[in-house]
């Protein structure tokens, strides 16, 4: 047997865990290959069964986009402002820029939320840091993100828009969207294990969130007295910010930072709760 040199003698102690908040990032890092493997599996399998499956991935956001643009742009005639160059922003383009961040969030949130239940066969049979499962969904959600960004590129060319200097901030908002989706997803995955009732909550939150988030309308259109409440929606700041980085226009309201703070807090508490549920996960699945 040729054992690797670094495995002199690893000692594993199994004990009831103490009530301290221990995320054990080192272990998470040690299991990074599993994270890649699970991500690869999800990507490979996602549209494996049908050709139509991949088409649905396009049609779904396309129709959402058209409906939102119709309701807010044609019927309600929401003012979308103009970019730094003074060009008025067409409503369709405005909406697609808002949808990008939301599409990523919604995909990650719903996939991660059901991820533990979906992987219960594994959870009951083998040990690994359970956090890997919702984390692995962060990459697959990029498919939905990319599709909307694809629409975006097409529309920008069509309307003759070019990206502004704000674009350098785009990656930052992508990161905030990832964190936001994970925060929500981690919460949901743990809650769903603990209380199956939450399975029905995810679609509800997403439907509500789609309208409570400034996807097809500017946050500024919300009456001043509701603004602060509005920005408690973690996605409000991300969607506004991402659109700003893509199209320019009105700068971010300082309330956005409330959104970002809400996201950070949500992630922290979510991790805490997840760790708590992780201990009994295999027993209650």
């Amino acid at each position: 047997m040729n054992s690797t040199p670094e495995t002199k003698l690893s000692v594993l102690v199994i004990e009831p865990s103490k009530g301290v908040f221990n995320l054990n990032f080192r272990e998470l890092y040690a299991y990074r290959e599993l994270l890649w493997t699970l991500t690869y599996r999800d990507l490979r399998v996602r549209y494996a069964q049908t050709v139509i499956g991949a088409l649905w991935a396009l049609l779904n956001p396309l129709f959402t986009l058209l409906i939102l643009a119709f309701v807010f742009g044609v019927v309600a005639k929401v003012d979308t402002g103009q970019n730094a160059a003074g060009q008025p922003i067409p409503h369709l383009l405005y909406t697609v820029a808002g949808m990008a961040g939301w599409a990523y969030f919604a995909s990650l949130f719903s996939e991660a939320g059901t991820s533990i239940i979906g992987a219960q066969g594994m959870v009951k049979k083998i040990y690994f840091p359970r956090l890997i499962i919702p984390l692995s969904k962060a990459a697959t959600a990029f498919i939905d993100f990319a599709i909307v960004l694809g629409f975006m590129v097409v529309l920008m060319i069509y309307y003759g828009f070019s990206p502004t200097a704000n674009f350098v901030f785009f990656p930052l908002f992508v990161i905030i969207a990832i964190v936001s989706g994970l925060a929500g997803g981690i919460w949901m995955s743990a809650l769903t294990i603990r209380f199956r009732d939450f399975q029905h909550v995810t679609p509800f939150i997403l439907r509500l969130g789609m309208y409570a988030t400034p996807i097809a309308y500017p946050a500024a259109a919300v009456p001043e007295k509701y603004q602060i409440l509005f920005y408690f929606n973690p996605m409000a700041g991300v969607v506004e910010g991402m659109r700003w980085s893509l199209l320019g226009g009105a700068p971010l309201h300082w309330y956005s930072y409330i959104s970002f703070a809400a996201i950070a807090l949500m992630l922290l508490l979510g991790l805490f709760y997840f760790k708590k549920v992780e201990k009994i996960m295999a027993d209650i699945l």
């Binding site: 047997m1 000692v11 199994i14 494996a48 049979k125 083998i126 040990y127 209380f195 027993d283």
Partner: protein, 405 residues
């Protein structure tokens, strides 16, 4: 060799029975005083030391706490109290093919399963050819595993698991898979692992496997360690304990697990030299009587029997499935079938018979370990020598000199 590989100290695991904590109950619980929930100790003050290189068989009845022990040692669930220390890299295998995805190819699943089991990509790549060869699915490596037969699927899954590099291996019944040839291969691989000086913790109902593989064994009963020692000693105790509870060579049946049966067993009996008895001597004639009753007259019955030695495991299977010529001369609604083994040369010891009785192969009542009987020593050779207990049967084989010079 006397180095300790696994040290378990007072390990306990408690489950709460009533009300697993639904949302409604939890919300209601916020406003009411805490009620005492029913508690259940799946494992209670379990202590055990396993030496390096030892292959420890864990035996016990269903629900005795074997799985809980394995789950704690595999870190799937946390103990309520106590401690276990494992010295060395641990891999546990509670199932073959964990994480296998039907849409992925055999090749992809090898990598997927390997990394779920804790192998690095480099390790998997190094062992890839070996794994493929062992599994024997080489031709279908790039076919999605959903097109595999169940045998191929299991072979591939076990092949990955068999190539894990771990100093401590935790195994749960994974040998109970695949066809006979593959099982032999698995047992061979297990032996290889054992001779490698690795420590193995092995839970199985396949007592033959426990006996032939394990160098030591322990017996769990109701979450507690009853006995630890040599495999022979532990297996014997396990059966003696078990027999005391439900030893029977003749029984009537009136309740059924399968409610959809159109043909039901009503009576089972061990028949020794033509008479119902639970005791026979080596060399006696053995038969089983199976009484049955059907909803309407039938001309056929599905009947299978498996004989199990309490020491050597399952060793004989006989079934009407392979004898379609066994038909009743006229349609019969109620009757009795005799399964006649004749002079079945069983060695001394205790034996168990399990039955599958029904109208067809897919509609049966399963009567696991339904009958027990004991075989006593007899001087069958007429030489005054006792038969050594090395297998479940003896045979008066003629020996013949073929060549001499």
């Amino acid at each position: 060799m006397s180095e300790i590989a696994v040290k378990i100290e007072n390990l306990s695991k408690q489950f709460q029975m009533a009300g697993s904590g639904s949302l409604r109950e939890t919300l209601a619980g916020l406003f009411s005083k805490k009620e005492k929930k029913e508690e259940f100790w799946a494992l209670k003050n379990f202590s055990l030391e396993i030496k390096k290189g030892e292959i420890m068989g864990v035996v016990g009845k269903n629900g005795a706490g074997k799985s809980t022990l394995l789950k704690i040692l595999s870190r799937i669930t946390e103990p309520t109290s106590g401690k276990a220390t494992l010295y060395g890299r641990v891999t546990s295998l509670l199932e073959v093919g964990t994480g296998f995805h039907p849409e992925l190819t055999g090749r992809e699943n090898i990598f997927l399963n390997g990394s779920i089991l804790g192998m690095t990509r480099v390790e998997i790549r190094q062992k890839f050819d070996e794994i493929v060869e062992f599994s024997g699915v080489g031709k279908f490596l790039d076919t999605p595993v959903k097109h595999y037969s169940s045998g191929m699927y299991v072979r591939l899954a076990f092949a990955v698991a068999a190539h894990l590099e771990a100093e401590i291996l935790i195994l749960d019944e994974v040998l109970a898979v695949g066809d006979a040839e593959f099982q032999r291969k698995c047992l061979g691989k297990m032996n290889e692992i054992a001779n490698d000086g690795r420590t193995v913790i092995f839970v199985s109902h396949n007592l033959g496997a426990v006996r032939s593989l394990c160098t030591a064994a322990c017996l769990i009963q109701q979450g507690q360690l009853i006995l630890t020692g040599s495999t022979d000693e532990v297996l014997q105790t396990y059966f003696n304990n078990n027999l005391g509870e439900k030893a029977s060579f003749h029984r009537f049946i009136n309740s059924y697990q399968n409610q959809t049966l159109t043909l039901r067993p009503t009576e089972l009996a061990v028949v020794v030299n033509g008479e119902i008895s639970g005791l026979m001597e080596m060399g006696d004639d053995l038969a089983f009587d199976v009484g049955f009753e059907a909803d309407a007259p039938v001309s056929q019955i599905y009947l299978s029997v498996v004989l199990t030695s309490t020491v050597f495991g399952d060793f004989l299977h006989s079934s009407t499935h392979f004898l379609p010529t066994f038909r009743f001369p006229q349609p019969t609604q109620k009757g009795k079938v005799r399964i006649n083994f004749g002079r079945l040369q069983l060695i001394t010891g205790r034996f168990i018979a399990s039955f599958w009785v029904g109208a067809a192969v897919n509609s049966v009542e399963v009567l696991t370990e339904a009958l027990h009987f004991e075989i006593q020593e007899k001087d069958v050779w007429g030489t005054g020598k006792l038969s050594p207990r090395v297998s479940s049967m003896w045979w008066d084989t003629p020996f013949e000199l073929l060549e001499n010079s």
